[in-house]
């Protein structure tokens, strides 16, 4: 392993720090670059960074410790993280990971002795339609199989830089199988802004209101209400209004592209092929609420999109669609900056996202105040989903009546559904709201007899084959867009266990019910899976679920028990078949837990056994 001595760290850091300037909100971005160069954050670097931003050392350490893509200990020069979602698992992720580990002589979760490679798991990387997937030094690898892993092992052994690896390993396809108004119709960049300027900001807000557009991140809050609350809010400091450079009250538009919900990958496709539509929606939003600055919070897993997104922003600036005096309008300036996340699901929660934008740990804030009145740096801030902005652009261009005619009464427009799991054609399907689950299953070629469907990821709902007539809509099944299909004979307990592990890993640790509760839930699930489960464990899971739901600080904790409670309620036989006894059983193999000590002491007497 390459050691980093002090003068060298200083030499590495100086240009990075100079490029990012002195605003502490850049902290996370700086750390990501240091991690890239050094493969960890050296202790000396933490001192230098803390001094540069004028913050205590513990603040920097706190941020490093929070995000899973940052580390204080060296990871391999080649860091390969397998996507751990259940869809990857069903495609053989565990076996493939072990295969690669054996080939490269490294244990999962550890660094090889020469420091060359480390192999581990990470939460869903958003490639469920082309898994099993992994990240190599942050770049996505798709459709992994033994052949590809042989090639990858060879490339790593020959120390070939990742940039020179064959492009086919990194190929990410959109897999759009059904397009409607967002994906299926052409969009001319600038059309929505022109329509907004012609109509006027107030009238555009009225249009968005009439269209009844609701947030696409899953919660379904009415977008126009959010925008008008933000427009009405003013941040004050020392009795004066906080203004932006143009002298207007400062407000922010934030696009939430932290698509962390396992099984969801629609934003990946929107940002890859429809970025103009998204940025245009943000610009329309900026005009309506009076913001001059916007952020796209891009999840670390989608870092490969960064360069092309920057190129789109540049093109839009050159076309007069971003920057000063947009389309010649003297009082309209707006620009967008892209912030990278670093592997934290919780940052999809809007207030945690804002904390992360400010360069801090992604810890959800107390609400109220809501971001619309006190968001980024205490200023009024709109945080909307990628798809919401895309819809907003379409509404600005084509009007409310056109949009409201699609979908159902309470859920207007279309919804992008990311389909994965046991289907012939995984990918993106755009449907008007109100579509039934069985319709989607027919269209995507659900294999054999589909048995259960996870709607909206682990935090959503598990539905059984009896409920396939239910509709995707806020009135019935609200969704952020994920739809994972499980055929008959799939072990649904394993699915719920995967989700329980996910929540335990992603809990931010701030509140006790969630930090401890998710860990206990994971432990009990693993106890049942390894054959030590009893009936009292099921009661304990229900009790725990109630505590998680009612006592947690934010949505992560309150939804963390959903998959477990759903399977207990809808597929009790799946769980009960795992139970070995109804009476009490110890949670682990008592005699087996003495084996190490027997080896160390060389004992084999009666008292050395249980």
């Amino acid at each position: 392993m390459k050691q980093f001595e002090f003068p060298e760290i200083s030499r590495i850091l100086t240009p990075i720090l100079a490029r990012h300037g002195g605003d502490a909100s850049r902290l996370l971005q700086v750390l990501l670059e240091v991690q890239d160069v050094c493969h960890f954050i050296p202790s000396e670097a933490i001192d230098l960074i803390a001094a540069h931003f004028g913050v205590p050392r513990v603040n920097v350490e706190g941020v490093v410790g929070f995000y899973s893509f940052l580390s204080t200990r060296p990871v391999g020069e080649y860091r390969l993280l397998f996507s751990g979602n259940i869809t990857d698992q069903m495609l053989g992720k565990d076996e493939l990971m072990q295969y690669l580990c054996n080939k490269l002589w490294v244990e999962p979760g550890k660094v090889s002795e020469d420091g060359l490679v480390s192999i581990g798991s990470t939460s869903c990387t958003g490639m469920c339609d082309q898994g099993p997937a992994a990240l190599i030094n942050g770049w996505p690898l798709t459709k992994l199989d033994h052949n590809r892993l042989d090639l990858i092992a060879e490339l790593i052994r020959s120390r070939k830089p990742v940039a020179d690896w064959p492009a086919m390993l990194f190929e990410v396809v959109d897999n759009i199988h059904r397009g409607d108004v967002l994906l299926g119709q052409p969009f001319e960049p600038g059309a929505a802004i022109r329509a907004t300027l012609a109509r006027g900001a107030k009238e555009t807000l009225v249009e968005v209101d009439k269209s009844n557009l609701r947030g696409r991140g899953g919660a379904g809050f009415k977008t126009a209400s959010k925008w008008s609350l933000c427009h009405a809010a003013i941040a004050e400091e020392d009795g004066g209004v906080i203004c932006d450079v143009g002298g207007h009250p400062e407000r922010f538009i934030v696009c939430n592209a932290d698509e962390g919900e396992p099984g969801t990958f629609k934003d990946r496709v929107l940002l890859n092929s429809y970025a103009d539509l998204v940025f245009e929606g943000m610009t329309v939003g900026a005009r309506v609420v009076g913001a001059s600055k916007g952020f796209l919070y891009l999840r670390g897993e989608y870092r490969y999109l960064l360069q092309q997104l920057e190129a789109v922003l540049k093109r839009r600036r050159e076309a007069g669609l971003l920057g000063e005096t947009i389309l010649g309008q003297a009082d309209f300036s707006f620009d967008i900056e892209i912030h990278l996340g670093a592997g934290a699901y919780i940052c999809g929660e809007e207030s945690a996202l804002i904390e992360s934008l400010e360069g801090k740990r992604g810890r959800p804030r107390n609400r109220p105040p809501f971001p619309v009145t006190s968001g980024y740096k205490g200023r009024p801030t709109v945080v909307d989903n990628v798809e919401t902005f895309a819809c907003a652009a379409k509404i600005a261009e084509k009007g409310a009546a056109w949009f409201a005619a699609i979908g159902t009464a309470q859920s207007t427009g279309t919804k992008l559904i990311s389909v994965s799991g046991d289907v012939a054609r995984p990918g993106i399907y755009e449907y008007p709201f109100g579509v039934t689950v069985s319709q989607i299953l027919d269209d995507c070629g659900a294999e054999g007899r589909p048995y259960a469907v996870q709607v909206s990821g682990p935090s959503g709902t598990t539905i059984s084959w009896k409920e396939f007539d239910r509709k995707i809509a806020f009135e019935d099944l609200p969704t952020a867009g994920a739809l994972m299909v499980f055929r008959r004979k799939r072990d649904l307990f394993q699915v719920a266990q995967n989700f329980a592990d996910f929540f335990a890993h992603e809990s931010c640790g701030f509140c006790t019910p969630c930090r401890v509760g998710t860990e206990l839930q994971k432990k009990i699930m693993s106890k049942i899976a390894s054959g030590y489960g009893t009936a009292s464990d099921l009661e304990e899971l229900k009790r725990l679920g109630h505590i998680l739901k009612t006592m947690s600080h934010c949505g992560l904790g309150s939804s963390a028990a959903n998959p477990v409670l759903d399977i207990l309620e809808k597929f009790p036989d799946m769980v009960e078949s795992k139970l070995k006894a109804f009476a009490f059983k110890p949670a682990f193999d008592l005699d087996g837990a003495l084996a190490t000590a027997r080896t160390i002491t060389g004992r084999d007497d009666d008292w050395a056994h249980l």
Binding site: S536, P586, A587, F588, L590, L594, A597, T601, R603, W607
Partner: protein
Amino acid sequence: MSEQSDRSPHPIPLPQAGEGEAVSPAGDALKKIRIATCSLAGCFGCHMSFLDIDERLFGLIELVEFDRSPLTDIKRCGPCDVGIVEGGVCNAENVHVLKEFRKNCKVLVAIGACAINGGVPAMRNNIDLWDCFQEVYCYEGGLECGQIPNDPELPLPFDKVHPISEVVKVDYFLPGCPPSGDAIWKFLTDLLNGREPKLDYEQLHFD
């Protein structure tokens, strides 16, 4: 199903009394409640805290008698009403003691952080057992320099320290490190009077 559900929820028939006060037995006819206590991988701090109920011990002793306990020095537990276990499970001997308690006690109580979660002894759970032994016995300055003790009389340690609820069914958990004398008194009087034990917030928080 759970072992407890086979019994009535209030296994100890006693005259009712107000919260926080012990009841005088109605004559000698009333059988005393038999209690056993032990400390596994703990520090005896919970036992010390139990002694902090001070003069209330006199009232208590009218109602209860002790079986196996550090207070009596009885070595084996016989049939009891209540078993109180301090400390987690760190070795094979702990399992034998714990199972003996579970077998003999109608109600089993985990007292203190170590019994409930593993507590301080469980801090070794992140350290490999080999490393633990080498650090203690093999490195210079360690005990018994160079030799790892292997006498069958010594309890054999587990890879990790476990909460007692992972080894036997536990009926009640009395949290704290240690629980205060008042909390222990409240818990015991509730139990002795046939009430579902309940601690107020003030007796549960430690900040």
